[in-house]
């Protein structure tokens, strides 16, 4: 990993996120949080655990189940100069409120010629692996990254989660902060090894648009994000036993996108595998491959992409396992391009 881990203390991703939010709320009275079940429950995925106890109901607000109103209200409060953090419980529920998200939150800065800012963070839970079916399991990275005007953040470790959250809250633009449920470190949904990391007690920011090379390697470039960073690292370990040395790049933010790190790696390895938990068509995998093709075509020897086939996410375990790329699928794809 690029960062040096100095802390003896380790945190889960959810605790790292909460620590950053709590710090910003202590420092800045204009920061407040609202969403469904964020107060007493502490967020269904523990993304706001303990905040109501410290800051009270006025700054950690449960809201009516009416996403258009409260996400739109977040936009309004942000334009009034406050710094709301608004939680959309599952990203799948975006459809209820997408008008406020993409026609207001994302566009008002541009339409106003830069005279209006929307310093708002929209946090939302993404991802499958626990059989919650088509309306609660999507990642939708591509959907949000496709629409201009929103910065899109996808942390994969506690260290990244905290630094990216500090940056998100301080950023003057709308940031969509997409956290994968399986990475949060919840007892009832155990995380793989990896997302729990050392996390400094003090504040720090991680800039947007800087991908992190989570593992260096010379034989293939695996570009991914979120949960699949850890599946790719697992695949890389297996590949190493066969003498194949895979580099794993964690994009960390989709908008802005760090194309330079990707291209540099592709120029080195010549082989590109892109792994995404979103749908295959018109999404992250296609975007990364297109970027590589545009700017490093001469260096590209082989390309593969792994993503969800273009079907809604099924419920039953064998069906969901079929459509979600696993570590073995990633290893097979890397072998395939050798």
């Amino acid at each position: 990993m690029a960062q040096t881990q100095v802390s003896e203390r380790e945190l889960t991703m959810s605790r790292a996120m909460v620590e950053a939010v709590a710090h910003e709320m202590r420092e800045n009275e204009e920061v407040f949080l609202m969403g469904e079940d964020v107060a007493d429950y502490g967020g269904i995925f523990s993304s706001t655990d303990g905040l109501r106890e410290e800051f009270g109901y006025d700054r950690v607000m449960d809201v009516p189940i009416a996403e258009t109103s409260y996400i739109g209200a977040g936009v309004g409060a942000a334009q009034a100069g406050m710094r709301p953090i608004v939680e959309l419980m599952f990203v799948d529920f975006f459809g209820v409120a997408m008008d406020q998200i993409y026609n207001n939150m994302a566009k008002n800065t541009y339409m106003s010629g830069g005279s209006v800012s929307v310093p708002m963070v929209l946090t939302t839970a993404v991802g499958g692996t626990y059989n919650d079916a088509a309306q609660h399991s999507q990642t939708l990275y591509g959907t949000f990254a496709h629409l201009p005007g929103m910065k899109v953040v996808v942390p994969s470790t506690a260290y990244d989660a905290k630094g990216l959250m500090h940056n998100a809250i301080r950023d003057d633009d709308p940031v969509v902060y997409m956290f994968h449920k399986r990475l949060m470190g919840l007892g009832w949904m155990p995380a793989p090894d990896g997302p729990k990391t050392g996390v400094p007690e003090e504040e720090y920011t991680i800039p947007f648009g800087v991908a992190d090379v989570k593992r260096e390697g010379a034989d293939a470039t695996v570009v991914t994000l979120g949960l699949h960073v850890h599946r790719a690292l697992e695949a890389a370990e297996a590949l190493a036993e066969d003498g194949i040395d895979a580099e794993v790049i964690d994009l960390r933010t989709l908008t802005p996108l760090d194309t330079e790190t990707v291209l540099e790696s592709v120029r080195k390895t010549g082989r590109l595998v892109v792994v995404d938990e979103d749908y295959r068509s018109y999404g992250v995998t296609g975007e990364i491959v297109a970027t590589a093709a545009e700017d490093a075509l001469a260096d590209l020897e082989a390309v593969r992409r792994l993503a969800l086939p273009d079907v809604p996410i099924p419920y039953s375990r064998p069906l969901e396992n079929e459509v979600l790329p696993g570590a073995d699928d990633i290893a097979a794809a890397v072998r395939d391009v050798q």
């Binding site: 003896e8 203390r9 380790e10 007892g187 009832w188």
Partner: protein
């Protein structure tokens, strides 16, 4: 430096909303064996049914031994870890 090792037991941290259960599981450790801890530092997280509770260091010192690691199951009365007081 002959202070007795202090046991950290599950009973004190048993979540009130799960008081009918007799067993649980260790979900996360936040401190590694051998690390120094201050009194009140969160050591680990336990879960009974679906209720989580944080376990904090009763004294400052060194986390001398983790008796129940991540994913280990426990019953009432079990010891999670031993702290060697500073």
């Amino acid at each position: 430096m002959s202070a007795e090792r202090v046991a950290v037991t599950v009973d004190e941290y048993w979540p009130a909303d799960a008081d009918e259960s007799e067993s649980g599981v260790v979900t996360n450790w936040f401190v590694r064996e051998g690390a120094s801890v201050a009194e009140g530092d969160t050591l680990c997280e336990i879960q009974v049914e679906k209720v989580s509770a944080d376990v904090v260091a009763p004294v400052g010192g060194t986390l001398a031994e983790v008796a129940l690691g991540e994913d280990a199951e426990f019953d009432r009365g079990d010891t999670l870890a031993w702290i060697e007081p500073a």
